[in-house]
Structure formats: structure tokens, C-alpha cells
């Protein structure tokens, strides 16, 4: 690694060196200027600190102390990757695989790919919205290949489109900047699954490296269209995962977003849904199941700018060890957004004495003919319920497992893809079983 120059010490920017190299290696086009402008935005905004309201519980200071390099797929053992790809049944014939940020034609299967779906290196025509957050800007600065899914009007795509973002780091502090653009035409229907994960080999050597994934997803829904977006994050145990999803929901369109955070040392998911016309629906479900020293942070904003839209947000957290869960759910009902229905629920389960949950459901309402509410709870498994199960002859670990599953079920059962549901349950089971019985009830 090149030494961090005196300048970077003055204003630490963990990405400056990588950006200089990246610019030098890419062709000078209009996009070049776009990247430079975006990087300038990032430099101006800087890495957020805990003094900023949106980051008060999530400290990115460790991030700013490192120097990150773009990950490369050079010299990658394709056979190994193929062997350990976390494919699921339904996605077998429509999947796009990215390893260390580059698209793998050989690993992807596009047989059932509907017309209109494209994977492109960002071209001159790539329309990217203006950056308002530092990490969006950083993504634009570094984005190499973007997935563009355009479903034409009246088209129904039955098989879920699987997007696999696999990181297989061989050195510390590499980064990738995945970008997904989904546009549904009038009355189009599709399901997109985004899986962000670390490559698992038998020795688990990839998971030992710290790395950064900075993902951005932009969703645009035309009139009457319907998108189910599922995101499962099982990054490595030392990884930073920052993700930003923005959905613009048109007239009568429906967006269902599932976002499950299981991996990563520190993960942050921003979801911003905005209604642009009447009759839109937005449902956001998520599970945060973490342990050890993990932190999972979810920030949701649902912007009811127009009348007659419905939103439902349901997030559950299961925190063990010294894990720290953060939820911030903001419902904004603007002037004139009458007959809005909005409900936010956040429930958290603390499985250990050292786990921590911070939750902040917010309502901002400027219209009077609305039905809005939110609820938040934090607690532990009910001792009486555990006692009941034990009185029926179940060992305490089993009782605990059952109750934890039951708690998660409300969210996981909403997943429309059976094999993913099984996988999520599996991940959860591994979580629950790996953790020591820290319960008072366990004698």
C-alpha cells in the first residue's frame, strides 16, 4: 500500500488513493467528470459522525481510519466460486453474479432472462440521481458495472431475478460499489432478489478480511406496477455493509421490500420510499438477527407526498451477545396527503444481558384525515412461555429456539420465495444455536 500522504492525514479520506488510481485507469469521458463531481460531493459531506442525527447510534469512525482499495476479481478461482455460490432453487436460471465487483458471465445464467434486463458498464446515458448522501456519492464515483433491470409495460416476469454480490477478499480493506437500477413500466410485475454475501469456503479465509460493500439500489415504479424486492445480507464477520435503496412509487403501484440483515460487523440499510401519485402501496419488512459484536442499523423513510397511499413497515430485531441493533423509521405525511394509512412496527428481542437495541419510530403528520400509528417494543423471551414449553418436556435450548423462531416468523413468513424462507430460517437457527445460553431461566 502506498503511504498515506501528509495531505490525507490532514483530512483523512480512506478512499482518495483508490479514487485517484481508478480515475487514472478509466477513460476520460463525460462520465469521468460525473465521477469527479460525485467524489467532490463525498469529500464535502465527509464520513458521517455520531454527532449527526442519522448516525447517532452507528459509529463509522473505524472506517475512516483505514485506506480502502477497489476489490478485483483477478486470479479468482472460478470453480471454487461456482461451488460455493449461495444460489437458491428459484433463481437457478435467472441470475447475475458479481464477484468482487465485477460481473461474471461464466457464473451467471441468463436463459430465462426477460428481454429488457441488461447489465451495463455505466455509459454516458446512465441516469443517476443527484447525490444527497456521502455514500451514494461514493457509489457514483466508483461504480463500475451497473445492473439495469427494465421491465417493459404489461410484462410479467415470473421467475425471481437473482443478483448475487459476492465478495471474496484476499487482502484487508477492499471495497465494492454495487449499483442496481430497477424500472418497471406500466402494470409490469417482477421480483428481484439481491444477495450480498462473502464467499464461504471450508476454511472461512475470506470471512476473516475486513471489507466494505457500498450498495445503491434505485427503484422506479410505473403506474400500476408491482415489484417485490428482497435483500439478504450475509456479509463476512468483519465486513462493513452500507446500502441505500430508494423507491419512487407511481400511481397505483405497489412496492414490497424485504431486507434481512444477518451478517457484517457493521451494516446500515437506508430505505427511502416516495409516493409520486395516488393509490400507491409500500410494504417494508425486515429482520435483523445479529450476535457477537455486530451492529445492524436500518433507517426507513416513507414519504407520503400525495393522498390515498398506504404504507406498512414491520421490522424485527433479534440481538444476542454484545450485538447492537438500531431502527429508525420515519413516516412523513405531507400537506394534502389525505386518507393516508401508515403503520410502523418495530419489535426487538434482546437475548443477552449485553445486547442493545435503539429504536426510533417517528411520525411527522401535516394532514388531518389520516390513519397513522407506530409501535415499538424491546424485551426478552417470556419466562412463562419458556416454563410452559419446559413443562411439556422441551429442553431449555429448544424452548428458546422455538420462541425465537416464533418471534421471527411474523417477518420471515412474508418472504414469497420458499427456498429463501428456508435459508433465512437456517441462518437464524445458526444464530440461535451458536449463542450460549445466557438465560436466567436456564438454571
Amino acid at each position: 500500500m502506498t503511504a498515506v500522504g501528509a495531505e490525507t492525514v490532514r483530512t483523512p479520506n480512506p478512499f482518495a488513493d483508490a479514487f485517484a488510481e481508478f480515475l487514472a485507469a478509466s477513460a476520460t469521458t463525460a462520465l469521468w467528470d460525473r465521477r469527479r463531481a460525485a467524489f467532490a460531493v463525498f469529500e464535502r459531506l465527509g464520513i458521517p459522525t455520531v454527532k449527526e442525527e442519522a448516525w447517532r447510534y452507528t459509529n463509522l469512525a473505524p472506517l475512516s481510519k483505514q485506506v480502502f482499495r477497489l476489490a478485483t476479481a483477478d486470479g479468482l478461482d472460478t470453480a471454487l466460486v461456482r461451488h460455493s455460490l449461495p444460489l437458491f432453487d428459484e433463481s437457478a436460471t435467472t441470475c447475475l453474479v458479481f464477484v468482487n465487483g465485477s460481473f461474471q458471465v461464466a457464473l451467471s445464467d441468463l436463459r430465462d432472462l426477460p428481454s429488457g434486463v441488461a447489465v451495463t458498464a455505466p455509459g454516458e446515458d446512465l441516469h443517476l440521481p443527484a447525490e444527497e448522501t456521502p455514500f451514494r456519492a461514493l457509489n457514483t464515483a466508483f461504480v463500475r458495472e451497473a445492473v439495469v433491470i427494465r421491465i417493459p409495460r404489461n410484462t410479467v416476469v415470473v421467475p425471481p431475478i437473482g443478483l448475487f454480490f459476492v465478495t471474496a477478499p484476499t487482502v484487508d480493506f477492499t471495497m465494492t460499489h454495487p449499483r442496481v437500477i430497477i424500472e418497471l413500466g406500466e402494470a409490469a410485475i417482477a421480483t428481484v432478489v439481491e444477495i450480498h454475501t462473502v464467499l464461504c469456503d471450508d476454511e472461512g479465509r475470506f470471512g476473516a478480511h475486513p471489507y466494505l460493500t457500498n450498495a445503491v439500489t434505485d427503484v422506479q415504479l410505473g403506474q400500476g406496477s408491482n415489484l417485490t424486492h428482497i435483500k439478504i445480507q450475509t456479509e463476512g464477520g468483519h465486513a462493513y455493509h452500507l446500502a441505500d435503496l430508494r423507491a419512487v412509487i407511481g400511481r397505483g403501484a405497489a412496492f414490497t421490500g424485504h431486507a434481512h440483515a444477518i451478517g457484517g460487523l457493521l451494516s446500515r440499510q437506508n430505505i427511502q420510499a416516495q409516493f409520486t401519485d395516488e393509490g400507491g402501496e409500500c410494504r417494508l419488512y425486515g429482520l435483523q438477527a445479529i450476535a457477537g459484536h455486530q451492529l445492524a442499523d436500518t433507517h426507513v423513510v416513507v414519504d407520503h407526498a400525495v393522498p390515498d397511499c398506504t404504507s406498512e413497515v414491520l421490522y424485527k430485531g433479534i440481538f444476542d451477545g454484545q450485538a447492537h441493533g438500531v431502527f429508525d423509521g420515519r413516516i412523513l405525511v405531507r400537506h394534502g396527503a389525505q386518507r393516508t394509512h401508515a403503520l410502523t412496527t418495530n419489535k426487538n428481542l434482546l437475548l443477552s444481558a449485553t445486547a442493545r437495541a435503539d429504536t426510533k419510530p417517528q411520525l411527522e403528520i401535516f394532514a388531518d384525515d389520516v390513519k397513522c400509528g407506530h409501535g415499538a417494543t424491546v424485551g426478552q423471551l417470556d419466562a412463562d412461555e419458556i416454563f410452559y414449553l419446559r413443562s411439556r418436556g422441551l429442553p431449555v435450548t429448544e424452548a428458546r429456539r422455538l420462541l425465537t423462531f416464533g418471534f421471527a416468523r411474523e417477518v420471515s413468513e412474508k418472504l414469497p420465495i420458499p427456498s429463501l424462507k428456508v435459508r433465512l430460517d437456517g441462518a437464524l437457527a445458526a444464530r440461535v444455536e451458536a449463542s450460549p445460553v445466557s438465560f436466567r431461566e436456564a438454571e
Binding site: 434482546l350 403528520i365 401535516f366 390513519k371 397513522c372 409501535g375 415499538a376 417494543t377
Partner: protein, 478 residues
Amino acid sequence: MSALAATLSTQEYKYGFTTDIEADVAPRGLTEDIIRLISAKKEEPAFMLEFRLKAYRQWLKMTEPTWQNVVYPPIDYQDIIYYSAPKPKNKLNSLDEVDPELLETFEKLGIPLHEQKLLANVAVDAIFDSVSVATTYKEKLREHGVIFCSFSEAVKEHPELVRQYLGTVVPITDNYFAALNSAVFSDGSFVFVPKGVHCPMELSSYFRINNAESGQFERTLIICEEGAAVSYLEGCTAPKYDKNQLHAAVVELVALDNAEIKYSTVQNWYAGDAEGRGGIYNFVTKRGKCLGRNSKISWTQVETGSAITWKYPSCVLIGDNSVGEFYSVALTNHRQQADTGTKMIHIGKNTRSHIVSKGISAGKSNNSYRGLVKILPSAENARNYTQCDSMLIGQECGANTFPYIEVQNNTAKVEHEATTSKISEEQIFYFMQRGIPQEDAISMIISGFCKEVIRELPMEFAVEAQRLLGLKLENSVG
């Protein structure tokens, strides 16, 4: 909807008169000299001056907070009069010696200053501009060992108590306005209830800002020793002025083992006119410390006045099994802004807290609940239940809820619920077809909405609060 749309009235502010009383006024602005002057005027011991100067120097280093959800033009702190007192400054022994004009003012406000009004059975400390003018029922309280007097009197007569507790709940470094208050506070109430005594009557303070350009910075300190109990009420009014006035008070409560403090507020400062001109900036820091085991602090507030309200009566639950409660009704109309709520900090074992907040917004007002429930790792088996309900009247107002829940102990159980609703046309129609006029219908619906909070208020206050809510909303609907 148009039938119910807001046609807002300018409900006359009943307490908007001014009283022409000669006042002893300090020069405008804030410097160390002014603080020395205030301290000298009040003949304070050295430790008080030290406290003030420390606070002032701290305040200079601080910046005004901007995170709250309110908008107001910058305050010029050098354009405020920090000390204003009714002139006849000789020591008063009984009410007969109080300026009759002043008594008349309190009469108009409906405050039972006269001791003959025995029926009221409320001991009153009346604070006019910055100075406490009269405290009733002193003798009777003294028999029980209860000290209830103005803050300045407490500084003179019980300096050891003041010194022991002042600034222990709200330190001078706490926030910008608390630091300002600590530097310049001129008076306030002091209550001390000794071991095992249940205060025989309700204690009450009435605050009145009279001078157009003075700020009011009062300081209340209530100490309840082991097993003691007290119920304290405060009421606030101010004349109508076009200019905004600053009110930055600090209230500190300390409850030792098995002690119980009930603090009720009916706040009706002048709210400004329908266009938002004038009115009080009510930037207040209120906090109670449940220091002892099984202690309890309960805040009840009915906030109907002030152009801007910014306050979070809080409980720090240190003692095991201690209880914190917060019951609030915040009503905003016209262009009022309120950002209010509570903080419950659970430190001790088995601590419990209960929050009920009812926000009513009408006109073009903006009403926010902001609350923090924090369970520290030491707070085994802590319990919190929070309920926040908002009601919107009209299409131009806003109702916001910003709860912060931070839990660091898995034996804790924390629940938060919030809803938003409106007075529906069906409800009004139902009342009206039963022959109940619309105004009464609204008043009854509002009463029902606020019932859980109002019933926590002492009787006399509850009646007044109900009436106040009705008055404030007159002509807001329909």
C-alpha cells in the same frame, strides 16, 4: 371536509392585561457585571455568585441548540432585561403590605393569594416578573417543618440546603438555556419537605411576566426527604405584547427514599396573536431525580400557551424500584409551536416509568412529541410504557412524534405506541343530532381525548385545564 375546515378565531387572551407597577429594572444586556448586580441586589452569599459566574462562563462557550423542531428568529441576548422587580422592595411580612395593585393583578388571574380564602387550601408563592412577591400559609407549613418560600429567601435562610442541592439535577453544563438560567435566575420557589412529612396542602406557584422586555428566569428546587410527599402546582400567565419574551426556567426535583413528588403545570403564557406576532418563548429545563429507593416523581402538564414551547420534564430513576411518570396535554393553535416530551433514564433496578402524551394541533400550529426512554445496563427489570396520541384539527397543522428508545438491558420491557386521529364529522354529527351544539361537542371530544392526563391533575386545576382547552379551541372547528 370544508364543513369542518378551520376558520380560526382570535380567542381573546384573558390574561393579556398589563399592570402598571413601578419596577426596579436592571440595564439591558448580559455581562458579568449584570450578574454581579443581580447577585448583589439579592444579597446572596459568595457561593451563589460563584455558581452564577461559572454558569455564565459556561454559557459563553455554548451555542444555542437547533435540533428541536421549531422555528424562530435569532434571540438577541443583549436586548433582554435580566432583572425586573416590583419596586417596593422592603421586606413583606404579610399580604397587607403587598402593593394593592399587585394583589389586584393576582385577583384578576384568579389566584387565591388572600389567606381568608381558606377553602382553597392551597399555599401560593406568587412570582411577578422575576421576583417572588408573596407566599401564603407559611406559618401553617412551618408547623409541619415544610419550608415553602421564594428562592431568594431560601438562599438567605437555608443556604446549606440550597448549596447541597442546587445544580445537582440540572448541572450548569446541561444545556444552553439551563446555563443561561443558572447565571441570571432571579427568583423562584423553594420547597423542602423533611423526613416522613406529608405536606398538608397543595403547594402552588403562579408566575407572571409583566415587563415587556424582561425575560423571566426562575428556578424551582423541591427536595423531599425520606418518606416525605408533596404535590406542587404551577401556573403561568403573561400580558400581551407584540414582542417575543424569553422564559427560560429550571426546575429541579430531588426525591429520597420512599419520597413522592407530584408536579403539575398549567401553562398558559401568552401565545401570540393569530398571525404569530408576540408571545412567550418557553424554553424550560425540568428534571427530577429519584435518588432514593421506592421514590416517585410524577409530572403532569397541560401546555396551552406560549408561542414556542420547548421542554422535556424528565426523571432520572436512580433508586431501586423508583417510579417516573409523565402525563401531558399539549395544545397548539394558530402559529404556536411546541416541541415537548420527556426523558426517562432508568438506572436503578425494577424502575418503572409511564408516559402518556396527548398532542392537539389546530390552526397552522406544529406540535411535536419528543421523548427518550433509556434503559442502562444496570437497570434490571426496568419497565416502560409510552403512549402518544395526536389529534389534528384542520389541514394546515402538523403533529409529529419523535420517540427515542435505547435499551441496554435484556430484562427490560419497553413498549411505545403512537396514534394519530382527528375529530370526525360523524362524531360531531352524532353529538349535534342529540341536540348538543358543535362547540360543546368538540369540547367533550377533546375532554375525552385528554381524560387520562386531566384526571392526574389536582381537582381545582383539572377544572381550569378543561375550561382552558375548550376556550383555546373555540371556533377552531366548523
